[in-house]
């Protein structure tokens, strides 16, 4: 069914209107009447948002298929309302060559649940020693524009300077995982009174802030753009705010979990709450929310990080860092910043679609839900409430920190390039999605 009429959705949370989708494009918008052969979707009470764009996703393939694959990860993405994900480079082998990024890109195309934009490694093997073949990845079929050693900080200042300069040559951006490695040896959780009480090695805020401060100055000096991954402290917000006021081309992201959860959860020693950067204090959470509202932080990105059960069913120190986040992202954002009155839905659309697409140079997302735009959209029921459960997940891993937490909102429909991937709250099967894409492409 490639002809859709979406009826009565509140577009970006505003006035209700109808949207008509034909051959992968939004062709009409307003008060429309149904036409023959058209699937009508009643969207009364639902908010229509552009397809969400995640700038920070770990799909684990190749090499980590026990945790996630491109297929399972993009299914989780669709279930969360995403139509684009940026697949981080820390796979095995590392995405540091044109061959790997093209493979990941192609797997995404084949699955059809979301566009997979591979992120290229900044340095060979994420080792922080020599630049990866950035030009080859940029010119490959995957058209890589975001480069990151995520999981590792590009900590050598000279190498970071060169990376900023070289990546700018290809209109790309370096996405920095800001973590001074010497200040975080063995670090387990936010450093403060609580880490001292729990006897878990501290990850001090200064280890993030020192790198951000250095890198905004480097970006200014060489005139390149810089993106900061998963910013997590109030001090980082102050530095980015200062840098933007100075005109430095820096963008910043925050994860949903850093907008909602605090370090107090580490008291349980339950490793589902172990993440890097760590959950911080309540005052950090509030500073991050305010920064997202005033534009200091540009985007929300999930840092979806699947891990097998055994990587979390162990002691805190033995456990892997990270949480899955694609399915829950919009619900958490709704709870943290929409229901608290800080962001309206139009601002959510900007932070989770328009702005990340612009940073990643993803086309077709600059005019959300406009006539003539590619039909990438999602319909959310903001009135829905549920107690979050592992059964709400659609990826391969279950390391969600939200189990048994009441979360608002539900993705009812997701449309990717004119194809329904979520319909009536249910994720469609792989064959149906592939068949629908063929119909759009050739119909």
């Amino acid at each position: 069914m490639t002809a859709l009429l979406i009826r009565g959705a509140a577009l970006l949370g505003g006035a209700p209107a109808d949207l008509r989708v034909r051959q992968g494009v939004i062709v009409d918008r307003g008060s429309l009447s149904a036409e023959a052969g058209e699937r009508v979707i009643d969207a009364e009470g639902l908010v229509a948002l552009p397809g969400l764009v995640d700038l920070h996703t770990h799909l684990r393939e190749p090499g980590g298929e026990a945790s996630e694959t491109v297929l399972t990860g993009t299914r989780a993405a669709a279930a969360g309302g995403f139509t684009v994900v940026h697949a981080m480079a820390n796979t095995t082998p590392v995405a540091d060559t044109a061959g790997v990024v093209e493979q990941v890109h192609r797997l995404g195309q084949r699955a059809g649940y979301a566009d997979v934009r591979p992120v290229g490694a900044v340095t060979v093997g994420l080792a922080g020693e020599q630049l990866a073949e950035i030009g080859a990845m940029a010119r490959s079929a995957a058209r890589v524009r975001v480069f990151s050693d995520d999981g590792h900080c590009v900590h050598d200042p000279l190498l970071m300077r060169r990376a900023l300069e070289y990546v700018a040559t290809f209109d790309g951006v370096v996405a920095q995982h800001a973590q001074e490695p010497r200040l975080t040896v063995g670090a387990q959780m936010n450093e403060g009174a609580l880490s001292s009480e729990l006897g878990l090695a501290g990850w001090p805020a200064v280890a993030e802030e020192a790198i951000i401060a250095r890198d905004v100055l480097l970006a200014e000096h060489v005139g390149a753009r810089l993106h900061i991954c998963h910013l997590s402290t109030a001090g980082s917000v102050d530095i980015v705010r200062w840098a933007k006021a100075r005109g430095i081309a820096v963008t910043a992201e925050v994860t949903p979990h850093h907008l909602l959860l605090t370090e107090e959860l580490a008291r349980s020693y339950d490793a589902r709450f172990k993440v890097n950067p760590p959950l911080r204090r309540d005052e950090d959470v509030h500073a991050l929310r305010a920064a997202l509202a005033d534009g200091t932080i540009d985007i929300v990105a999930t840092d979806h990080a699947p891990h097998p059960v055994e990587a979390k069913e162990c002691t805190w120190a033995e456990a892997a860092f990270g949480m899955v986040g694609l399915e829950s992202a919009l619900s958490v954002v709704q709870q943290a910043v929409v229901e608290t009155g800080l962001l309206d839905w139009a601002a959510v659309a900007r932070a989770m679609s328009t702005a990340p697409a612009a940073i990643g140079r993803v086309e077709g997302y600059d005019e959300p839900l406009a006539e003539g735009s590619p039909a990438n959209l999602t319909l959310v029921d903001p009135a829905h409430r549920r107690s979050w459960a592992v059964s709400d997940l659609r990826g391969r891993s279950t390391n969600t920190p939200y189990t048994a937490r009441e979360l608002p909102g539900r993705i009812v429909t997701t449309v990717h390039r004119g194809v329904l991937t979520v319909d009536g709250g249910e994720l469609l099967g792989p064959e149906a999605v592939i068949a629908a894409h063929q119909e759009v492409d050739h119909g």
Binding site: Q188, E191, G192, A193, L194, S195, S196, E197, L198, G199, L200, A201, G202, P204, S268, Y269, D270, E310, E313, C314, T315, W316, A317, E318
Partner: protein
């Protein structure tokens, strides 16, 4: 009380009860027949992921004195060192019918995890977890201070107004953490002494006074001075420049010891680095409680095992009548 994971959540009344039961246990040591039947047919597993001969022997002695079956499971040379997870180890022990697990682990929170993850239904006793807590050590320290201070009149008392200085590597010490919470709950006046590099971040929120210089704390005439073991490899991580400088600034040297009041207790959880954090003259003095701490450790562990494992009758008198 179901488990003993930390002293942080131990209330004053529960702590005093534990110390009093330990007093009862101490009295049995003088009897002709020292073994009590309290834990007959119960199985106590000592699960040691980290070497600690002293603590392991103390728990073993305590469990045997209560007639428990004791199984000791050391990580070295076992499946644990071959990558078996804490969860699998716990479930193996469950299958063996463990009533209590005494766990020593190099990771903070390991005992907490065993108690709360739903892997096993047994009483968990934390015998030291990473840099978090070592509650039975703090209990035996409090017991030792109380007994020295109040003698036969110790029963039922807290440590109100007793001044205790804890000196050394507070940052990495589970002994210090457990002592801070327990001594505070018992009403003691707790002072911590260390160079700033060895003080935990955020310590200003703890219920203690903090001193960066030992002489400043000793000038307050503490009733007990507890010296913590310093690991000399810390100097490689720039916590202090040299063992010599550490000893000079924060060690209980012969000179500092000589200046202490005659009744001041000199405590050390062992093993000691003589000549580094503590001088031999201090360690071997009449004020030293080092050996009493070892003896009392057995009584405290008997009390803990008794209260956690003896079952619903654990409010009953453990030894059938006072004395």
């Amino acid at each position: 009380m179901r488990h003993l994971l930390s002293t942080r959540d131990l209330e004053r009344a529960s702590a005093i009860r534990l110390l009093d039961v330990a007093e009862d246990m101490a009295q049995t040591a003088d009897r002709a027949v020292r073994t009590l039947p309290a834990l007959r047919d119960k199985t106590v597993v000592n699960l040691f992921f980290e070497d600690s001969t002293r603590t392991r022997l103390s728990f073993e002695a305590a469990a045997k004195r209560l007639s428990a079956n004791v199984i000791t499971f050391s990580a070295k040379g076992s499946s644990v060192s071959k990558g078996e997870s804490l969860k699998d180890t716990a479930q193996t022990l469950l299958a063996m019918g463990a009533d209590a697990i005494v766990v020593r682990h190099h990771d903070s929170g390991a005992a907490h995890r065993l108690a709360n993850a739903g892997w096993i239904d047994a009483a968990i006793i934390n015998a030291g977890d990473g840099t978090h807590e070592h509650p039975t050590q703090a209990l035996l320290d409090a017991f030792t201070i109380r007994q020295r201070r109040f003698g036969a009149d110790a029963r039922g008392r807290g440590l109100d107004g007793v001044r205790v200085a804890i000196v050394g590597d507070i940052l990495h010490s589970r002994v210090a953490r457990s002592n801070v919470w327990l001594l505070h709950a018992l009403g003691a006046d707790v002072h911590l002494v260390a160079p700033r590099t060895l003080l935990p971040h955020g310590i200003d929120t703890w219920p203690v006074a903090v001193h960066e210089h030992l002489d400043e704390a000793l000038a307050l005439a503490p009733d007990a001075v507890m010296m913590l073991r310093i690991q000399s490899e810390r100097m490689r991580d720039a916590f202090f420049p040299s063992a010599r400088e550490y000893g000079r600034e924060w060690g209980l040297t012969a000179e500092r010891f000589a200046a202490l009041g005659p009744d001041t207790m000199v405590m050390h959880p062992g093993p000691m680095n003589r000549g580094l954090e503590i001088s031999s003259v201090a360690a071997d003095s009449s004020g030293s409680t080092v050996l009493a701490q070892v003896t009392n450790g057995v009584f405290i562990r008997m009390a803990v095992l008794y209260l956690l494992v003896a079952g619903s009758g654990s409010d009953a008198d453990p030894i059938g009548g006072q004395g």
